[in-house]
Symmetry: C2
Subunit: 86 residues, 2 copies
């Protein structure tokens, strides 16, 4: 599979935002604390990525639903850690 | 303009994630502190939304580039506040 330069830009963009909460998870695990992390931001992404995934299923577009389901899982983990450590 | 139910779901999803960092900005402004906020998460979204916006311009898709430019502005503000308050 050969990607054009623009597709590579799209893929890098998707990877960066899809896995955007991984560093926040690592920071909470390292600090064992979640001061000043906004739970509302986490819940907005929880509901937002859930609805994006639904919309992706509706459009039958695996790129939309797989990317958003991955982010959804990371956001669920971030929310669990937030309430564990805040 | 009449939207279908599925389009409404897509619009709500887009609004929640596009404005996802607004609560984080408010939390940092209120606390005047940014402990345990991950700057790497912020930089991933900075570069990610910038590349998404470029990709949207390439596709000539205003929904992609406008949504990502809005998020980009909020992430720039969040990064400035992070380095001001950390």
């Amino acid at each position: 599979m050969i990607f054009s330069n623009w597709q590579v830009i799209g893929l890098i963009a998707a990877a960066l935002t899809t896995f955007g909460f991984i560093p926040q998870i690592i920071t909470m695990l390292k600090h064992k604390r979640a001061l000043d992390v906004s739970p509302i931001t986490l819940f907005q992404f929880l509901i937002g990525t859930f609805l994006w995934a639904l919309y992706g299923f509706h459009l039958n577009d695996p790129i939309i639903y797989i990317a958003n389901l991955i982010t959804l899982v990371t956001v669920v983990i971030a929310i669990i850690l937030y309430f564990r450590f805040r």
